[in-house]
């Protein structure tokens, strides 16, 4: 378990202690302020090269990472999978070696295979590897920005700054995660972050969309969705991952909405102060009704806008902080 991601790779939130996670959130606070300036740029990564390697389609996350790197004044190399030699059958090892030969300090990568980021980190141990999502395994920056968003919104509500109230906010906070948990790397990262921060987590999903051996996770699985909605302070919805085959795990989208969709009727069961979150992209009308998305309780836009500060914090800590000094 690592206490701080300064100068390390960020592969999985399961590896991080509470202190490490809190450090990222605190650093991100400063970057929120940077992102409000007219000139949204600081020279912290000047002269460094960050490669963005997205083997899986993702415009949003890739742009978010590349923006973060650019706002830290890093040079960004962007690999578009479709036109790359990877499609021609080049191995992952050779692809990363080719890019490394150009001289990179860090690589942000997303791949459809679980563990791909870890494998790459072994091929290029001198390069900082930041996992932008690997198969069904982890999506660390999403977990971090989700935790950050909760902290941010609740701090505003209690009129405190995020830093002072950070620890207390999550202690015993009731977080419900709903949907295709089995196939979701976001769920795994969220659970790791929330559990480390001290929240109480419940999962609710059709039986076929729960992970195997979920009893070993730091969560409680509940069957009664309506009951869970009344219990929760935060409801995190997940998308049905049809591209990862979950279509075979429930009868149809309609059946999924019937059993576990956040419909207008179900949204009425929520307490007025409960937050609704979704990592995106959303299937409006499937896991969440359009009208519920557009309600005040849904803080999806905050999540999106916190993506860049969190990724700036991660890049800053991982890449800028690779010096050796007393005490490190």
């Amino acid at each position: 378990m690592i206490d701080s991601i300064r100068g390390t790779n960020l592969l999985s939130l399961d590896d991080l202690t509470k202190a490490a996670i809190v450090e990222v959130l605190d650093t991100a606070e400063s970057f929120v302020e940077v992102n409000r300036r007219t000139i949204k740029k600081v020279p912290a990564l000047k002269g460094r090269v960050v490669a963005s390697l997205f083997f899986e389609e993702s415009t949003r996350t890739r742009l978010s990472f590349e923006t973060a790197a650019k706002r830290l004044s890093a040079d960004v190399l962007s690999l578009a999978v479709a036109s790359s030699s990877v499609k021609k059958g080049e191995s992952l090892r050779d692809t990363i070696a080719t890019i490394d030969a150009l001289g990179i300090d860090a690589v942000v990568m997303r791949h459809r295979s679980s563990g791909a980021a870890l494998q790459v980190s072994r091929y290029v141990p001198h390069v900082k590897v930041i996992n932008g999502g690997d198969g069904q395994h982890q999506h660390p920056t999403q977990g971090l920005l989700d935790a950050f968003t909760i902290r941010q919104v609740l701090s505003e509500r209690h009129d405190t700054t995020g830093l002072e109230s950070g620890a207390e906010l999550f202690a015993g906070l009731r977080i419900l995660i709903v949907g295709d948990i089995r196939h979701s790397r976001v769920a795994r990262s969220d659970v790791a972050a929330y559990a480390a921060l001290g929240a109480e987590i419940r999962l609710c999903a059709p039986g076929t969309l729960l992970p195997d051996e979920v009893s070993t996770w730091p969560v409680t699985v509940v069957d009664d969705f309506d009951d869970a909605l009344e219990w929760a302070d935060v409801v995190g919805l997940l998308r049905l991952q049809s591209e990862r085959g979950s279509g075979a795990f429930v009868a149809s989208l309609d059946e999924f909405t019937f059993t576990h969709g956040l419909t207008v009727e179900r949204a009425r069961l929520l307490r007025p102060e409960t937050l609704i979150m979704h990592p995106g992209p959303m299937n409006r009308g499937v896991e969440i009704d359009s009208r519920v998305v557009d309600s005040d309780a849904a803080i999806v836009e905050r999540q999106v806008s916190n993506g860049v500060p969190i990724r700036m914090a991660v890049l800053y800590l991982c890449v800028a902080g690779s010096g050796e000094g007393p005490g490190l």
Binding site: P206, G207, T208, G247, A248, A251, D254, F258
Partner: protein, 436 residues
């Protein structure tokens, strides 16, 4: 509805009670006592020398509607059921189209509501019963469906069955399986053995059933989701499931009257009426099933009532469709199999109380659209009552059936015991062995 009084039958609840009168008013059992002063306009049912117990529940009826109304309709099937002493039927989903959606389930429920009986529906596990992708179990469960099966065939792919069990568990419903591995049984028309070889008919081996029974027991162990085994036909299948049940696994099973009455030798004349899946088995299996019935370890008798239009059963043995009628004769055959020491409690247990529990039709199974079945014969319960005469002797006539079809394998057979009266939801539907 005017009152009914059932006179001087042996009232059979949890235990064998006494000879008594049963007063039924407004759909409920109002009173059970040695001698009741009934209201003047109460209809009298003579139950002397009869057993009076909870109405029968069939877990396994093919009502053929929608799609094959020529063979049977929900209405005609209900009439056949009533004559057989049944107050509730569970309609199987292998209709055309299959009952794999809210629309179709609603259709059958609505049609069933027009009959005097309670007609529940078993929904399909997979879309179109193809065994590939899950049907909308949750939506169907919201309509009150508590049993799901692809009956006609079993779910062949173990990963699909596993997923179905996992998905069903939190819904509080039970899956049911027709256990026959299609690859092993392919092309078979009767039990595989010495007889099938001599007759030149391809056999369906006992192993085809037993292998899937084994597989599904293990899947239940893995998922802890309840499973009901349909029409187990071999002694080994029974032993496997009894063993699993003894270990605390949530399994139940039924046996069909034809499997504990007829053996494979009935097929010797190539009569298609004896063709059924799983097939009539060897004598040893038949004895094994009868023995289990007598020992009281069988959860339920279910008819697997499978009507076929007459012209279809006139085809050559291997071309004819499989299945035989059962509703009108199950009670008598069960009584006969229980033997000389037939215990009325066991009789009603396998025909009524056991099936009612598995189908979740009892009062304790919670609010639902149907009345309560499988009761203990006490005042206040919904009046689903069957009067059975263990002394009557009669003969089956295939031309005198309530069913639209005639494919009964018992034509001309002498029967011991007969349903005298059936009271469904407080209404007298069968009296003196005839529909009212």
């Amino acid at each position: 509805m005017s009152a009914l009084v059932i006179r001087q039958g042996l009232v059979v609840g949890v235990d064998v009670g006494e000879v008594a009168d049963v007063l039924i008013v407004d759909g409920r059992i109002a009173e059970i006592a040695r001698s009741i002063d009934a209201p003047g306009d109460a209809y009298e049912v003579d139950a002397r020398d009869c057993w009076v117990g909870p109405g029968f529940v069939d877990l396994h009826t093919h009502l053929r509607e929608p799609g094959r109304e020529a063979a049977e309709t929900i209405e005609s099937g209900a009439r056949a059921g009533a004559l057989g002493g049944y107050c509730a039927l569970v309609a199987m989903p292998n209709t055309e189209p299959a009952l794999d959606s809210v629309a179709l389930v609603s259709f059958v429920l609505e049609r069933g509501a027009r009959t005097p009986l309670d007609v529940a529906v078993a929904g399909a596990i997979t879309k179109d019963r193809r065994g590939e992708s899950l049907a909308p179990l949750a939506e169907m469960a919201a309509l009150g469906v508590r049993l799901f099966t692809d009956d006609g065939v079993g779910v062949q792919d173990p990963s699909v069955m596993r997923r179905a069990l996992t998905y069903a568990k939190p819904l509080g419903v039970r899956l049911a399986q027709h256990c026959e591995d299609e690859a092993l049984a392919a092309g078979g028309t009767m039990n595989e053995g010495e007889l099938s070889a001599r007759l030149g008919l391809t056999g369906r081996p006992a192993l085809a059933e037993e292998l899937m029974v084994l597989r599904d027991i293990e899947l239940v162990r893995l998922t802890n989701s309840p499973l009901h085994f349909l029409h187990l036909s071999t002694k080994r299948s029974l032993d496997l499931v009894l063993g699993a049940r003894a270990m605390g696994l949530p399994v139940s099973f039924e046996v069909a009257p034809h499997h504990f009455t007829l053996d494979e030798s009935a097929c010797a004349n190539y009569e298609p009426v004896f063709k059924v899946h799983p097939p009539l088995r060897a004598r040893g299996d038949v004895e094994g099933l009868r023995d289990a019935l007598r020992r009281g370890v069988v959860d339920a008798v279910a008819t697997d009532h499978a009507p076929h239009a007459p012209e279809l059963k006139d085809l050559p043995f291997d071309e004819a469709p499989a299945g035989m009628l059962g509703l009108e004769h199950a009670a008598s055959l069960t009584f006969e199999a229980l033997g000389d020491s037939a215990n009325p409690v066991s009789f009603f247990q396998v025909l009524s109380r056991g099936p009612a529990r598995i189908a979740q039709l009892r009062a304790v199974d919670g609010p639902r659209r149907h009345s309560a079945h499988g009761g203990s014969m006490i005042a206040g319960e919904d009046a689903n009552v069957t009067v059975f005469d263990p002394l009557e002797h009669w003969r089956v006539d295939r031309h005198a059936l309530a069913s639209r079809s005639m494919n009964t394998p018992y034509d001309g057979r002498a029967m011991a015991g007969r349903v005298r009266a059936t009271i469904a939801k407080g209404r007298l539907v069968v009296d003196q062995g005839r529909l009212t």
